[in-house]
Symmetry: C2
Amino acid sequence: MIQRNTVQRRQVLEAVQQLYNHPTAEDIYEYLAERQAGLGRATIYRNLNVLCEQGLVHKIEVPDAPARFDHTLCAHYHLQCRCCGSFGDVSLPEQNRLDRAVSKETGYTAVTHDIVFSGICPECRAAGKDRSAEPKA
Amino acid sequence: MIQRNTVQRRQVLEAVQQLYNHPTAEDIYEYLAERQAGLGRATIYRNLNVLCEQGLVHKIEVPDAPARFDHTLCAHYHLQCRCCGSFGDVSLPEQNRLDRAVSKETGYTAVTHDIVFSGICPECRAAGKDRSAEPKA
DNA sequence: GTATTATTGAGATAAATTCTCAAAGAAAAA
DNA sequence: TTTTTCTTTGAGAATTTATCTCAATAATAC
């Protein structure tokens, strides 16, 4: 399975780089649809997977939401507001240390992990939108 | 929305406690189906959500796989083998420290997170099943 | 150029979960 | 304890996200 350098693949990679705000596959679909290039959804998903394997793109699994994709830079975590859904980066250089600690404790090798922190952003906090602070039942 | 104490809700909670190995909703469905109690899937999903809100059950979001549910004990992380899929606990008491660090860095409040580490278990390693070590393309 | 074979795209399919809504049944009120 | 209220149930439809199918297309190698 030798990879080919197709127009579509380049367009998907370019879209992830342009849409720097962690686009979903659907975001990319719409972005490319607006620009003449009418890529099919299957093509977008397929190429995102290929680009992930190549290490050019990083897939972020978000709880209860579609996966997002990140232009690969240095390792970092992500943070999402439980109220408004805003999504961003967190710099907290713990990745290697945690992976090593888990490997040492369990005997597993090639350990990796991602984290999507969940919290209430300052804006929602100020606006009193924080429903997680309300009594549950 | 006052919660009612139904037979079904108790059965779902009991199933999560009995199936201590991080069951999926489907595991619970089958477990209860085998025991006379023919709960509908909708009922199981609904009750798992309620029990999570009540803090009696913890939902574990697993990348590229159905969610698993954990009888709530003290906070801990999870670890999955990329080869055989085996799934288990990891004790690494970092939760509070990381949440506080993210809160301090970003101004977000009520920060929480989960981690599902991914690695190769010693058995798969020994059996040479580690496909992630092979060249990619 | 021609042959080989990865890639595309439209739509079908799959997997996980939620929604719909009439019937059933807790809990509260009378 | 009867009635009223309103949450919950369950079967199946619907939704969402993502993958698969397969004939047509197009990169690459020869």
